[in-house]
Each structure stands twice: as structure tokens, then as C-alpha cells.
Amino acid sequence: MPNEHFVAPPNWEWYILLYFFFAGLAGGAFVIGTMLRLWGSAADWVTSRIAFLISLPLLLICPILLTLDLGKPLDFWHMLFNAGTGAPVFKTWSPMSLGAWALLVFGFFAFVMFLVALGEGGYVRSRALSRVGRLPTNVFGLVFMVIGAILGIFIAAYTGVLLAVSNQPVWSDTWTLGGLFLASGLSGAAATIMLLSRRQREATVTEPKLMEADRYFIILELILIAIFLITLGGLVTKVLGGAWILLWLVVLVGTLVPLLVEWRPRWSRQVSPVLASVLVLVGVLALRAVIIFSAQA
């Protein structure tokens, strides 16, 4: 049974919504890029490279959005260091504190893999970059990518845990948000990679695999949405009631339609894969919007 609290809304709005969206995509893209390297074939490296190439730019948007959302943007560094002593502030029990550090550390991994992808793909002619481009070919490189992927998982998931670690009705009455945001972030990242890889002929070989992976991510997401609604008990009307149902319809369209398209490719004749990917992304955004806004209404 949900706890009864009388919490004021923190007024986390558009900046936070977009931050959660891009964090899910950035972390998800890195994870997919790493999985393709670990388990894919040589032909999948092109798509993996695209994943690493988009992870960093998507991630760079995140601290900008977070900083803009602060009441005192110039004091953003207080998230990392004590304003008085200058000592690091690292609170393992505060997802916001952990998240600030994770963004920084993951940023390093995303940056290195961005350079690797640049060097490997020959986008920039530089001897140093081509050396960096060989990083994924040895054990150290693989370990590096796996650590980065774990951080990517954290970046995509912790935003949900951050909402749950509060006393806000809805957010704090469920344990599903971390997993839900991770599943939807992975799905959104797969859709983004599919959209971008359509421009590269070499990457199209991986498209069926990405579609299959996205299908599984969407199924995970749908299961977690169901559990999320069940765990809310009587509070479910707060997220489903009124105009919020329209956003849930967008979420459903953004999951079920791509799922059917990816499961039954003949549907692609009616719904193009591009549209399916766009629907996934709109659904990912709508899911976060309905969870963030309905709880504060």
C-alpha cells in the first residue's frame, strides 16, 4: 500500500525531461555499441561505431540541461565538491550525487570511445587517433568498454532511481523506475542507431539484429510498465487519469507499433522502419513525460 505523504512538487519540468531522455539514449547507445563488439561479427563494427559516435554528443547535452535546471547554474560544481572545503561530495545513498559523478566518469569513457570510433572509422586523419582506434582490439580495450557499458547502464537507469528515492507520491511508491528507464533508454538508443545507420550501407547488415534487440527491449519495457502500474495500487489513477491517458496512448503507440513492425516485417510495408524508430523515440519521451509530470500535478 502506498505511503501517504504531503510532498510539494519540485517542479522538475522540461530540462529534466529532456535530460532523462538524452541520458537514456547516451547510456543505451554505449551499451549497445559494447554488446555489438562483444557478441557481434566484424560486420557489426560499423553500427557499433555509430553507437559510440552518438553516445558522447548525446551525453554532452545532459550536463547542460541539468545545469540550466538549477536555481543557481553557476554553482553546478557544488554537486561534486564541497563549497566550503573543496572536498569531494560523494553520497552513495543520494542518486543525484552518484549521478553527477557517474556523468563525469562516463563522460571520460564516452569520450575515449568517441575518439576510438573516429580513429577506427577514419573520419579524422591523425596518427594518434588511428592508434586510439586500435583500443577495442585487445583485452584492455574490451575491459574498458565493459566498464563504460556498466556506467552507461547506470546513467540510463539511475534517473528512475533518482525519482524513486524521494517521498513524492507515485515516484516513491514503486521500485520499477530504474529498470523501466533503462529498458526504454536501450530501446530508444537502438531506434536512434537504426535511424542513423540507414545512411551507411555497411551498417545495414546489423539492422535486423538491432530490430531484434529492440523488440526484446520493448517487451522488457512493456512488462515493466505493467508492473509499474500494478505497484502504484490506488495511486494508479494519478498517472492514468485525465489528460495523462493521452500520453500513455503515445507510449503504447511508441512501443506496440514498432514491436509489431519489427516482429512482422511485412508490416513494414504499411509502417516504414524509419517511422517505427521515430515512434519508439516519441514513446520514450512520452513515458518519461507522463511519469515526471503526472506525479507533480
Binding site: M35, W45, R134, T137, A164, V205, P208, A213
Partner: protein, 303 residues
């Protein structure tokens, strides 16, 4: 170390004069509330950045036909919890515990992330858009440092708001409840002796806590309770997603990834040394691209 201090607010003595609100605003130089009509004598509305005391007018039905509604007045304030949710989540360490065991937001450290607002189960903290910071009752920290009572307790004309050492306040509260019980007011109860490890602002209530917008003892839980379940769910999801990735991305009789980008791993590797860089294998629906094989022995494992 200074002595822990506390408020004991006896709602049976409150007459709703709002002297506490005025004294608080005056001492702390809080801005006026915008003029607006509400369907109540309660024209303050809620605790927030500009209202650190709020006299609630709780309307309760009575058994008297000619007076069907009675008011219970309660001067609400930050509870300065022993286990404070706001202090727990604050990522900048802006929220600290003072030498008086009260909870204080350092305005020069707070960067306005508002995590504390979503954590406070009493809806005490407000966001000041002018300063860009979270604000709430300071327990008149500056007055305490000068051995003065907080402004609200000083101004209260009925002594509904009592102030003193925390232990003494607990004794006063217990005595008052037992007196009221003896007088037949069996519904009188103390709020704040058990919740959140003990509150530094206790209340004597004549109804269940929820009637005064206070969480019940069972609902008085900290945000950190959701850390482990949240991360465990994320970890399980990550494992399932990893398995999904393994199933979807696994090699199905295809060429394996090469250990060297110049040796064939990267399909469009800039290296001219050949060795099997797959040159744009043809897309084949169903997952098994027919990319060329790299040189023997360069794979990382079978598919």
C-alpha cells in the same frame, strides 16, 4: 555542544491568530504573500520559501447540528526531523544539522536542484526563484545563537507554541496528553515522538495525523528505502537486456570480429592493409549477413 532544542505545538490552545506567521515573516524578512482570496480563513495556503509558519485551519465535522463544522487550528512548521529526508538526499551537503540538532539549509551552498523538495514528506521546503535556492524554517538559528527563543514561540499569545530543550518539550507533551486524557479527550495524541527518529517540532493533535496533512507513523519513511529495490530492479533489467543483446547480436555463422582494425575487424577501416575488411556485406533480412571471412585465426571466438 549546545543542547538539542524543540518546539511543542499544542493545537488545542491555538486560536488561529497567526501571530506566529507574522513574527516569523518579520524576523526572517520573508516576502508578503500575494493577495488572493481562498475559501477559508487560511490565506497562507502552505509552507514554502516565503511561509515558514503556516496556521492550518482544519475543518472537521461535529455532532452539533447548529454548528456542523469546527475548526482545529495548527501552526505548522518544519519538523527538523532527527532522520531528515531532505538532509539525506541533498547532493551538495547544503543541508546540515546545527549544534542545536536542527536542520538548516546553507543558502550559499544550495544550488537549487530541488531534490530536498521532493524528499520532504511534510511539504515544508519551497524554492525561491529570486535566490535560486531551497528555503525553509531555520528554527531562528540566529536567535538561538544569541540565546533567544524563536520568533514564533516568542509571539504566540496562547503558548500554543512552546520552545525549550528537546527532552523538556517531550516531558511537557507527555504531561499535556495525559491531562487531556484525564479530562476525557481520549483522541488527544502526540505526533513527533516516533516519526523520523523523533521530530524537533512535536504536535499535540486531536485527530489522526493525516487530517493535519501529516504522514502517519507507518508512512514516515525515508527516501533511501527505495535505493536498493531501485538499483536491484535496474540490475535485473540490465542482465535481461544483456541476454537479449547476446541473443540478438550473436554471430550466426558469420565472420567473427577481428582483433585488429587494420586486420579486418572494422568494415570501413582506414587501414589499407587489407586482411579481410568486410566491404559492405549485402543486407539480408533475418540476421545472417554474408560478410567475407577474415583471415584464419584472427577471430575472437566462434559464432
Amino acid at each position: 555542544m549546545a543542547q538539542p532544542v524543540g518546539f511543542f505545538t499544542d493545537t488545542t490552545l491555538c486560536i488561529g491568530c497567526k501571530a506566529c506567521e507574522v513574527a516569523c515573516k518579520e524576523w526572517n524578512q520573508l516576502p508578503n504573500n500575494p493577495l488572493e482570496f481562498r475559501d477559508s480563513y487560511d490565506n497562507t495556503g502552505q509552507l514554502d520559501h516565503a511561509n515558514w509558519r503556516h496556521v492550518r485551519f482544519v475543518e472537521q465535522p461535529t455532532k452539533t447540528p447548529d454548528k456542523p463544522i469546527a475548526w482545529s487550528m495548527m501552526s505548522d512548521v518544519c519538523k527538523h526531523c532527527a532522520n531528515a529526508s531532505c538532509l539525506e538526499v541533498c547532493p551538495t551537503d547544503a543541508i546540515v544539522r546545527t549544534e542545536f540538532d536542527t536542520v538548516f539549509i546553507q543558502q550559499d551552498v544550495c544550488n537549487g536542484c530541488r531534490d530536498c523538495i521532493s524528499a520532504c514528506p511534510y511539504g515544508v521546503i519551497g524554492f525561491n526563484t529570486d535566490t535560486g535556492t531551497a528555503q525553509k524554517c531555520t528554527f531562528c538559528y540566529d536567535r538561538l545563537q544569541n540565546n533567544l527563543k524563536p520568533a514564533c514561540a516568542t509571539a504566540c499569545p496562547t503558548q500554543s507554541i512552546k520552545f525549550g530543550p528537546l527532552d523538556e518539550m517531550r516531558r511537557v507533551a507527555a504531561d499535556r496528553v495525559s491531562t487531556l486524557h484525564q479530562q476525557g479527550m481520549s483522541e488527544a495524541r502526540i505526533y513527533g515522538d516516533k516519526e523520523y527518529g523523533g521530530l524537533h517540532a512535536m504536535f499535540l493533535l486531536t485527530d489522526k495525523p493525516e487530517a493535519y496533512a501529516l504522514p502517519s507513523t507507518e508512512s514516515a519513511v525515508l527516501p533511501s528505502r527505495n535505493n536498493i529495490p531501485g538499483y536491484v530492479t535496474a540490475a535485473i533489467t540490465a542482465i535481461l537486456a544483456g541476454v537479449a543483446g547476446l541473443i540478438a547480436f550473436r554471430r550466426r555463422g558469420e565472420t567473427t570480429a577481428s582483433p585488429s582494425p587494420s586486420g579486418g575487424g572494422a568494415p570501413s577501416s582506414p587501414s589499407p592493409s587489407g586482411g579481410g575488411a568486410p566491404s559492405s556485406p549485402s543486407p539480408s533480412r533475418g540476421g545472417a549477413p554474408s560478410s567475407p571471412s577474415p583471415p584464419a585465426g584472427e577471430g575472437r571466438g566462434g559464432g
